[in-house]
């Protein structure tokens, strides 16, 4: 079995056969390139929008990793406070940690002159929350907190409306201190924040970290550390390091804290696969048809090949090579088109005009398409491998025994 001749022979034949019907070949190429293009571009837009939502959700006080006392996640109360050990700040000094913050997060009741409501009280370090949560950017009226011991309070727009209070007004915050006594304190509303989803505006009130500690007699205790890393999808190393540094504490990544986000991501994957499958099904239908047509037209030639002593496997290979060239060209064109499109959309797809409606389901008003190596590879591999698989049937038809009269009939 010598093989050095085969590739060039099959290639020359396949290449020329492909261009026997230039228009037909160009049409199927165009259709395929369009299919590949739509696969990749839709994937990039969907993936981009999903990742943006994910990042936005992570800013909703989640962060990439949170550290608590083990019992806190099930029962987030003041009893489950802890004093951050020195080993923790040492472990968090690594280059993979962008920023981290201590927080006090406990249940509380807020009351205005007219109404009261149950909320979660969050004591923050105003400057260090930048880049870690939404709150520094969300104050639309008044001012942001200025220091950990800022005496003021940030109130969500919706809660302010419900309590019939507002900027500059006083409210009373009630909670439990470390001695199980009621701790209450009056605050002036120094800022009102707006955010999405709007339930957040009702759920949280923000005060300074030191102010909260003083009010609840916490001394230097906190209930939570949240941090941002350089890469939220590769946390294993950092998690392992923290586990060693603070074995007594409960260190959890966002994937555990927010299982819904992980589910969203999985659903995105499934949706994209379904999308790929639909596009591919349409494409393979066209491919099989085109190849079958080409094979039927050339029955006599395949018979000639047989009479010349070409083995059926070679004839099969010849049709597959034709299909392979077609697929490779289509993939190249599709990928190039997609790259150009995603490049053209690099400044985002502005949906602000329809944003009002979209925001309800949590889609950002500007979507930035995001390449994912996985999506790219999946689209290309799927088209290539399944494309070849789809070509097997026409190729097999070509390799079947051609009745002798088909060869000799004039």
């Amino acid at each position: 079995m010598r093989s050095e001749w085969r590739a060039p022979l099959l290639l020359t034949l396949a290449w020329r056969n492909l261009w026997r019907h230039t228009r037909r070949t160009l049409m199927i190429l165009f259709a395929f390139a369009l299919g590949v293009w739509s696969m990749i571009v839709i994937a990039a837009i969907t993936r981009g929008s999903m990742e943006q939502q994910l990042d936005k959700s992570i800013l909703n006080l989640t962060g990439h990793i949170q550290i608590h006392l083990a019992a806190f996640r099930d029962d987030p109360v003041i009893e489950h406070r802890f004093l951050p050990p020195p080993a923790l700040s040492a472990a968090l000094a690594g280059a993979d940690v962008m920023t981290w913050v201590p927080r006090v997060r406990v249940p509380a009741v807020i009351a205005s002159e007219r109404e009261s409501a149950g909320v979660t009280l969050v004591g923050i370090e105003p400057e260090r929350e930048r880049g870690l949560s939404f709150i520094p950017g969300a104050v639309t009226e008044g001012r942001y907190l200025e220091a950990p011991d800022d005496p003021g309070m940030l109130l969500g727009r919706k809660l302010a409306e419900r309590l019939e209070t507002g900027l500059g007004r006083r409210v009373v915050l009630m909670s439990q201190d470390v001695n199980n006594r009621v701790a209450d304190r009056g605050f002036r509303v120094v800022g009102v924040f707006d955010t999405q989803p709007r339930q957040m505006e009702e759920a949280y009130v923000f005060i300074g970290r030191a102010t909260a500690q003083q009010m609840l007699k916490l001394d230097d205790n906190i209930t939570e550390v949240a941090l941002m890393t350089t890469d939220r999808d590769h946390l294993e190393e950092l998690l392992a390091r923290l586990l060693v540094a603070v074995p007594a504490l409960d260190v959890q990544p966002w994937t555990v804290l927010e299982p819904l986000l992980v589910l969203t991501r999985k659903i995105t994957d499934v949706v994209l696969i379904i999308w790929y499958a639909i596009v591919f099904a349409a494409m393979s239908f066209g491919l099989i048809n085109t190849l079958l047509m080409a094979v039927f037209e050339r029955t006599r030639e395949f018979g000639l090949f047989q009479s010349l002593g070409m083995r059926p496997a070679h004839i099969l290979g010849q049709v597959l090579v034709e299909s392979l060239i077609l697929l490779a060209l289509a993939l190249a064109a599709g990928n190039l088109l997609a790259a150009a499109t995603v490049y053209a959309l690099r400044d985002g797809i502005d949906l602000t005009s329809v944003a009002e409606g979209m925001e309800l389901v949590g889609v950002a008003p500007i979507i930035y398409p995001a390449w994912s190596a996985g999506d790219l590879a999946a689209a290309n591999l799927l088209v290539f491998v399944l494309g070849l698989a789809a070509s097997l049937y026409p190729a097999w038809r070509a390799a079947r025994h051609v009745p002798v009269e088909a060869i000799t009939r004039v």
Binding site: R2, E4, W5, L9, T12, L13, R16, N17, R20, R300, E301, L304, F305, Q306, S307, L308, G309, M310, R311, P312, H314, H401, V404, I407, T408, V410
Partner: protein, 231 residues
């Protein structure tokens, strides 16, 4: 000395079945074609000439009997063995459409040698030589569509014999040619038979073509009715 035979047919029969109708295309054919023979199958339309050639070439299977080509029992070979036999031992020339349309004359001639695994340089030399021999100098890079019928048949002949097969089967190779071109082609076949010692079996309706043969086998209703040597 035992005569060496390229083709031996023993009690060969062929029945075509189409739906309920059976057509007896060949009945008890016994035939021996010695090496270097230049034999012509003649007979009226439907007498079984093509059927016999196709059976010998392994393009179709006999209903009964034995066919031996170059010592191999064609009727017993499997698909890939048949392919190999055709590739190495048998050249075909059909009435028309012998060539691969997307390949040039020289590529068509090289095709079989490529399948046989011959090195490119050797192939090219041989193909050029044989095209010269069949009188197609200067037309090497034309595609079949750019050649006349006679020129196409010459390319087919060149391809059939270039790898020096034991046997060339030509089913009405001149049927689509005018008589002058037909005569030229037959001269070429006779020349190839003598120069290269290749065994030829061809079929024809044409008296002029029959006259080139050294042996005239006449078929009628699927049987050999006459077999004369004319040397």
């Amino acid at each position: 000395m035992i005569m060496e035979h390229t083709v031996i047919c023993r009690h060969v029969s062929k029945v075509y079945r189409q739906e309920s109708v059976a057509v007896q295309a060949l009945t008890d054919i016994n035939l021996e074609i010695p090496k270097k023979d230049f034999a012509c199958l003649s007979g009226p339309s439907g007498s079984g000439k093509s059927t016999l050639l196709n059976l010998i070439g392994g393009l179709d299977r006999p209903t009964g009997g034995e066919i031996t080509v170059d010592g191999q029992r064609v009727d017993q070979l499997g698909k890939s063995e048949l392919a190999a036999l055709r590739l190495h031992k048998i050249g075909f020339v059909f009435q028309a459409y012998n060539l691969i349309p997307v390949l040039t004359a020289i590529e068509n001639v090289e095709f079989v040698m490529q399948l046989q695994g011959m090195a490119a340089a050797e192939r090219a030399v041989k193909a050029r030589e044989i095209l010269h021999e069949v009188g197609l100098d200067g037309l090497e890079y034309r595609r079949p569509g750019e050649l006349s019928g006679g020129q196409q048949q010459r390319v087919a002949v060149a391809r059939a014999i270039v790898s020096e097969p034991s046997l060339v089967l030509a089913d009405e190779p001149t049927a689509n040619l005018d008589s002058k071109t037909a005569e030229n082609l037959m001269q070429l076949l006779a020349h190839m038979n003598q120069e290269h010692g290749v065994t030829f079996i061809f079929s024809t309706h044409d008296k002029l073509v029959m006259d080139f043969s050294r042996r005239l086998i006449t078929l009628h209703d699927g049987s050999i009715v006459n077999d004369v040597r004319r040397e």
